[in-house]
Symmetry: C2
Subunit: 345 residues, 2 copies
């Protein structure tokens, strides 16, 4: 094995404690002693064994982040933000993906590598409130995302209903009336899209339009392929919408592909709005209007929540902060604007 405190102590001719003091930057160490010890450390190439420190302290300084999949840029970008936010608190992040499987979500929430994780940030898709209530693992858990839970955990999510209403209102303001919702699910899996769908319904109703359930498209998943297939299905069954509000950007991007492939124009024939503001949505042939959740805020709030509970604060009530979001208007809902903002390229 490597060099231990004992080796350094021997080399420097002092006690272990003194070396430990130096390593941990303790106050009361004479400069002379400090340099002497430091020299021994350098000569031996000593590196503290964090595992031992963890065992001793009962904490590891590692938090886990579990998202459905990295393949979705939204989660990739979010993961980057979480890593940065955690680094500011001297925490390291262990990232895992659940592949959107309930089984994996359960596994992770029940204790990911027991005792090596101080806390967990989880973005669930299929996990249910009862799963959460049955949780025995004691490490703090912070939830992310658009599912609703009646469980005593911190939960960070933008106001999905309000954001969806903003998106739909934007389309209504552009004169669209037959607005489809793309990316719903059925049965147990309908939860994730639930709030956005509610926003769609509410805003339509508020505008005096009866939501047409024929315009709600169920997809198999949340990727580009699902968007393309879903859009094709919608058009094939003769329901020609004049606008589409997609559950997320990937679905919107897939839908745009189908719309264009069918010889229809965006936004003239069909306008499209997405959700997430992944970087990709700014670079298609037609840039995508979308809801942009404040990812940095989400990451920061999640990490701060966790760190606070980790620091042994008196157990506060579960908090549900609402990070901000913005509606970003781009070409997919702006007739005649195609490439306009790129004129100077």
């Amino acid at each position: 094995m490597g060099v231990s405190l004992k080796d350094v102590a021997q080399r420097a001719g002092v006690s272990i404690k003194t070396v430990s003091n130096v390593v941990n930057n303790y106050q009361h160490v004479t400069p002379a002693m400090r340099t002497k010890v430091q020299q021994a450390i350098d000569e031996l190439g000593y590196r503290p064994n964090l595992t031992a420190r963890h065992l001793r302290k009962g904490r590891t300084g590692i938090i886990a982040l579990a998202v459905p999949e990295f393949g979705n840029p939204y989660f990739a970008e979010l993961a980057g933000a979480v890593v940065d936010a955690a680094a500011r608190h001297d925490y390291t992040v262990l990232v895992d993906h659940t592949a959107g499987l309930r089984e994996n979500e359960l596994l992770v929430s029940q204790g990911f590598r027991s005792h090596v994780i101080d806390g967990l940030i989880l973005s669930p898709i299929h996990l249910e409130t009862e799963d959460l209530m049955a949780r025995t693992e004691t490490a703090p858990l912070v939830l992310l995302g658009e599912r609703e839970y009646e469980a005593p955990y911190d939960h960070i999510a933008i106001d999905n209903v309000a954001a969806a209403r903003d998106a739909v209102r934007h389309l209504l303001g552009r004169g669209h009336r037959r607005i489809a919702f793309l990316g719903s699910r059925t049965g147990r899996e309908r939860q994730p899209a639930h709030l956005r769908l509610r926003g769609w319904r509410e805003e339509l109703a508020a505008a005096g339009i009866t939501p047409d359930e024929n315009l709600v498209v169920v997809t198999d998943g949340y990727g580009r392929e699902d968007g393309a297939t879903g859009m094709a299905a919608l058009l094939d069954r003769g329901e020609r919408p004049d606008a589409v509000f997609a559950y997320n950007d990937l679905i919107a991007i897939g839908a745009m592909r189908t719309i264009t492939a069918r010889g229809l124009r965006i936004p003239d024939d069909i306008a499209v709005v997405g959700f997430d503001d992944i970087e990709e949505s700014r670079y298609g042939a037609t840039t995508l209007t979308t809801i942009a959740p404040d990812k940095e805020a989400i990451a920061r709030l999640a990490v701060d929540s966790l760190v606070e509970r980790l620091s042994g604060q008196p157990v506060a009530e579960p908090r549900k902060p609402r990070p901000g979001y913005r509606l970003i208007i781009r070409e997919s809902t702006t007739p005649g604007s195609a490439h306009a903002h790129l004129k100077d390229l």
Copy 2:
């Protein structure tokens, strides 16, 4: 703190060793004893403390993966593959990003959270051979990516020169002659694109074309924005290529945006080939012809290399396996094909 082996032993009225035996599925334990102990474990909700186990065993079962950034889908997709490959060996992956900064790459290579990482997979951009030679950290390191190193470490990378030549040959075969290279760098930073640029030069030369250095475009980075700006700069200085070979897909996507914005058609006016085969390249208005490295193979080879060295095998020679790749031909180099394969949508 939690429940320890001792607590379980006490409860079951046996020794610590016996409980340990049960927990670790040792051979020689009487069924009766096993059930008795198991019951105590269940009653107490015992979970082994992995930190303690790690300290004792000197290994943690955690490997680190450091990539430039998750924002690039190539690395996000690769990270997913690495996590899966590692899971098959019962390793957990700690993911970090270096933001493409040499400083961070150095930090990471020198020992990421000393002793909590059994090994490291690093995809460097700016790290130099001498940095690697100066490395003191003893945890095994496996390198990823298109930089070349004269250092005794395993290095997993596809044959970048051959792949680049395939890409350029494809363009030549389509009749293109003025083929630009987009995404070069200058000075210390020119290494990453080096091999692909060499492939570009070699293949042109082999076709009897003198590589025109005016068609080599330097970019500030490797993102979509850089591709868009670089392409604009190329067109602005009056160099109108009939094809572009981009360092990666993101640059290619940015370039396509600029080409279209300038009113030029892809591939009729300018054909485009990328590198990486990120999923996004299959969904633009014009799908992107690209080199598709076998990400699963890369991830598997990297993890296998690491695991082998971790298992204390006699120290083999540094290995440089060559995972496979494929040239995937899509619309951006196929005149008249736009949306062809989506007809049935």
